[in-house]
Symmetry: C2
Subunit: 338 residues, 2 copies
């Protein structure tokens, strides 16, 4: 651990993991946080609730496919649904920089509210703070979300077994690529929009329709699909074998990555999730995903193998039949993508 | 509404109110937010929950009596307990500026965690984000809190009636004064510490011991006691008549205010609340408050009158028998006190 915080500590990769483990966990350790999921189960009264929080600091505030207001809702909703929870209510806190345009703030609030209606969540508490010019960056939004655990949702890396199918719900890398272009620092034009979307309607019906078949889900945000898959490998103690040819990536995202020496595996997504699904049920789950507009490009991209022959981790089978390790993100390709 | 956000919009006074009403409420209107309390009731499953959120941007991060970590927990806990809720769990999101010292962050996390243990709340979800140098200010912490409504808690401005006693749980203005001095811009030395404290043990037993006697409570944070009392007057449609002589203020806080032309009525508190209590029960409630270390300076400072002879509002009876209107804070005396 370095003595100062670097942008890499915010990447969602290994440096973020170390920051959390070294600085926060020694103090904030609790049963719920130990699970280190995107959301945690909470027992209050008779109901089983799920709670989550995220700070949104995306730059720029507006980008093709969304803005910080819509993103803040989608990100929170998706953290809940991948845990099998029906999103119920949100809290929202806005940290606003002095001098920020009131009309822009109103537009962000409007987009935030529209996405809340779309995801059928209610805003139950809100706060605003203003910081001096140069002590913030336009607006930061922190959202906490509360959902109620859907009956039959039984998800966890502990349920992952050999032979399970690895599915992504759509093209990977769109959000990260869209943000990169929206910053306007590259002088590249490409038709790429963020995948930013609330996935309640895509994901929750799966759990009811295929009880027990979905082992684990995670939205592939900071650190991208590679980082989520590495977490899955590490927590389940299995190998994840992926077939590079099967991964759905838009040609313009792939082109941008090639030009810049990036990999879509590490680019953030805000409406695309990784699912680990029982092998037998996988074809039906895939059809169900593809029947929804937000899952139309879903694909089986690999399978879970035991870690007997080789250590737990993520392995990428390339078209030339080579096999390489796909590591977790260490530092960031791109700071402040969410 | 001006076209740009000013520091005054973050004061907790009338400008903040207008920002919320003009920019946020048209979009985010919900039954819970309409109540515009510090925390809102949420029905999930069979339990009645209370949820709240606050962003903490206090400057400096450390001050006599506390730091941003302790403050973030106390502020959230107090928002819950004044609504009659037993604090159960928190979520916490840290927005950290690049270059911030890791050791300082660890100290803040430690103080945050210590206060969680003191208030018996569990951290169930957390997030960290890093922003570039000059796009943040050390660290901002946003906390959401969830509590369960205590049996017998029946609080609301609608329950306030003529003759009710107005009580403060302690000296007013300590937090605001401590922050002002801690900034070191005044070249004044005075022994003033923030009142920053979690009030669960002071407040919640009152509700069980004096069922129905406590009509309404509110922690007097941004905007100070005057702003809370004005909200009470405006929402209940009553007059609040205060006796200036009875208000507990530390001599050093009063001295500082006189020197700087400030009023302790508008200085923030982080461990002092205003209670509206049934007249008959008031002496016993006051004794109970004073028996607790955090309520030892509690005082009855006035009473609720009907708004028949004069309009609803807060009136201050001065020692010379004059009576003046004590208005809500319009803009800020002091930005970023919490």
């Amino acid at each position: 651990m370095s003595a100062k915080i670097t942008l890499g500590h915010g990447s969602g990769g290994r440096l973020t993991q170390r920051l959390i483990e070294d600085v926060f966990m020694p103090h904030l350790k609790s049963a719920a946080l130990d699970e280190a999921d995107d959301a945690a189960r909470v027992s209050l009264g008779s109901g089983q609730l799920v709670a989550t929080t995220d700070a949104f600091t995306v730059r720029p505030l507006f980008f093709p496919g969304g803005d910080i207001g819509k993103l803040a809702v989608c990100g929170t909703v998706n953290d809940l649904v991948v845990c099998g929870a029906v999103p119920k209510c949100l809290t929202a806190a806005f940290i606003i920089e002095e001098g920020f345009e009131t009309d822009t703030l109103a537009l962000i609030a409007e987009n935030f509210a529209r996405e809340c209606r779309n995801a059928r969540v209610e805003v139950v508490a809100a706060d605003t703070k203003v910081v001096e010019r140069g002590k913030g960056d336009g607006v930061f939004i922190t959202v906490a979300g509360i959902g109620s655990l859907q009956a039959g949702a039984d998800l966890g890396t502990g349920r992952i077994a050999e032979g399970d199918a690895v599915i992504v719900s759509g093209d990977i890398g769109d959000h990260g690529a869209a943000i990169l272009l929206a910053r306007g620092e590259l002088n590249i034009q490409a038709d790429i929009a963020s995948d930013c979307a609330s996935l309640h309607d895509l994901v929750l019906p799966l759990l009811a329709q295929f009880p027990g078949a979905v082992r684990f889900m995670r939205d592939a945000t900071r650190g991208g699909a590679a980082t989520v898959l590495n977490e899955i490998a590490s927590k389940s103690g299995h190998r994840v074998l992926l077939e590079e040819e099967r991964i759905p990536v838009k040609p313009q995202v792939e082109g941008l990555c090639e030009m810049l020496g990036l990999s879509p595996w590490y680019l953030a997504n805000e409406g695309t999730i990784v699912l680990i699904v029982d092998k037998q049920a996988a074809p039906a789950v895939l059809r169900r995903l593809r029947s929804h507009q937000l899952g139309r490009n879903a694909a089986v991209i690999g399978e879970i193998l035991e870690a007997a022959q080789a250590p737990a981790g993520v392995y990428l089978q390339t078209p030339s039949r080579g096999r390489r390790i796909l590591d977790a993100l260490v530092s960031d390709q791109l700071p402040r993508i969410c």
